[in-house]
């Protein structure tokens, strides 16, 4: 694997997800300054996010250095992060306050 560096977008050192800038295949390795080498665990479509490390259920998902939601279940490093495992904390008319 060639460990491409410009295959992803990482806005802030506080982020726990990166955004794929090319479609990535499951198993593909990427190189990060902070965490070294990481293999994605799913196919990651262009523009979609993957976890940089383990994220526990209820932990904030951080992008642009800010929370963009919380994990709705445990997420493994390299796993696809999207609507199936992230809940928003805003505009939630579906939950009782």
């Amino acid at each position: 694997m060639n460990g491409r560096k410009h295959a992803y977008y990482l806005a802030s050192s506080h982020d726990n997800v990166a955004t794929a800038l090319v479609a990535l295949c499951s198993g593909e390795q990427l190189v990060f300054d902070t965490i070294g080498s990481l293999a994605v665990r799913n196919d990651i479509p262009f523009g979609f996010k993957f976890a940089l490390g383990e994220i526990s259920k209820g932990d904030p998902i951080m992008k642009y250095g800010e929370p963009i939601g919380v994990a709705s279940c445990a997420i493994k490093a390299g796993e696809l992060v999207h609507v199936h495992n992230v809940e928003s904390q805003r505009g939630r008319g579906d939950i009782a306050r």
């Binding site: 963009i68 992230v86 505009g91 008319g93």
Partner: protein, 394 residues
């Protein structure tokens, strides 16, 4: 007609009230939904160029809706890009057409009124309207005054529509670079779409030095969010939209954090209501829905001369009397929809272009647009208008 540019200057149309337009439109303005079909028919039947506005309201409205519809119609009737107006009334509707006519007269623009009922119905009104359009056209073109203008004479509206993950990474930061240059140059830049700052409002609020403006921003966001929550559902699917989600955006927070890049780093000087004019120079926020057509209508009514609109998934929609410059950071979208999009910022994604380099391209496109070069949506004529409605229709 294109004019040579010198450092961000262009030849604008000078209005009697001192405003400078970047276009000189002959506008057909239906004051109610019942007058709307005639406006569209006149625009297509007229042997010249006239632009019909759309209006699906203007009757049986109450309270804030009544005043908002009037405010938007009045704002567009006296817009800097409006050269002359043919007002169309059915004759029995809620909006007082004569007041619109009188406002246009006072602004020094040629104006005429078609009253469908008094004309004797839709066919007579069509003939009457075509004659009046020809007369307005002659009067408008006989009184053109040009004046050299610059960035400081402009109000620029910002919009994002059909966002995807590239919006917050490329197109919006590129717009933000231009926003900073525009504000430095003395222009007024309008950020809008209140839904699309949910999750990022704390960042923008910090940039408002005036505590009362800060409070207005937070209150506007909470008002939208609480209304949405009262609907009893998770807003995901409405906002972000299915297209946003298919494009990689997971939550409204993520979308909003990407959206506010359009605002660059300038201080936020004012928070204004839908369809109202900014009173301060610099970066302002207008309270509008995230829905693009309603949002653009509000900014146009507030006097935006031109708009910059980022799109990831590909939105072709412009606005009838305000040129809209489209930019995308998605290479695939630009390739597929090149006839709808003006500026390609996708090389920023590929690491082949810096934000500032793409920003210069966008700034040049903006100045050329002000100088008369048509945007894609002006060429295609793919424009839409919709006045926000909030209350009951009676």
């Amino acid at each position: 007609m294109k004019q040579p540019m010198v450092e961000g200057t262009f030849e604008g149309f000078l209005r009697a009230d001192g405003a400078i337009g970047v276009r000189n439109h002959l506008v057909i303005l239906p004051v109610s939904v019942c007058a709307d079909p005639l406006a569209a028919r006149l625009a297509s039947a007229y042997d010249g160029t006239a632009v019909a506005l759309s209006n699906h309201h203007g009757c049986c409205q109450i309270g804030a809706d009544y005043s908002r519809t009037f405010r938007v119609l009045a704002g567009l009737a006296t817009h800097p890009n409006t050269g002359a107006v043919l007002v169309i009334a059915l004759g029995c509707e809620g909006v007082p057409a004569e007041q619109i006519v009188s406002m246009v007269e006072k602004s020094g623009r040629p104006v005429a009124l078609v009253h469908i009922q008094k004309s004797g119905g839709s066919r007579n009104a069509l003939e009457d309207g075509l004659e009046k359009l020809a007369d307005l056209d002659r009067r408008m073109n006989g009184a053109v005054v040009r004046r050299t203008a610059g960035l400081a004479d402009l109000v620029i509206g910002l919009e994002c529509g059909g966002s995807d993950a590239t919006s917050g990474i490329a197109a919006n930061p590129v717009i933000g670079w231009v926003t900073d240059k525009l504000v430095e140059g003395g222009a007024t830049v309008v950020l809008s779409e209140t839904t699309e700052i949910i999750g990022a409002e704390h960042i923008l609020a910090k940039r408002a030095a005036d505590p009362s403006e800060r409070k207005k921003l937070i209150d506007a966001v909470l008002a939208v969010e609480n209304r949405a929550i009262a609907a009893g559902v998770d807003i995901r699917g409405s906002q972000p939209t299915p297209g946003n989600i298919a494009g990689g955006l997971t939550t409204i927070e993520e979308k909003s954090l990407g959206c506010i890049y359009k605002a660059g780093s300038a201080p936020l000087v004012e928070v204004i209501g839908y369809g109202t004019r900014p009173t301060r120079r610099g970066l302002v926020f207008m309270d509008t829905p995230g829905q693009d057509v309603e949002s653009m209508t509000g900014m146009a009514a507030g006097g935006a001369h031109v708009m910059i609109f980022s799109t990831g998934r590909g939105s072709p929609v412009g606005f009838p009397i305000v040129p809209v410059v489209k930019i995308t950071g998605n290479a695939d979208t630009f390739a597929r929809m090149a006839h709808d999009i003006d500026v390609d910022a996708s090389r920023v994604i590929e690491g082949l272009e810096l934000v500032g380099e793409a920003g210069e391209k966008l700034m040049n496109a903006l100045v050329r647009t002000c100088a008369g070069e048509l945007t894609r949506s002006e060429e295609t004529g793919y424009t839409a208008m919709s006045i926000l409605k909030d209350e009951i229709t009676l």
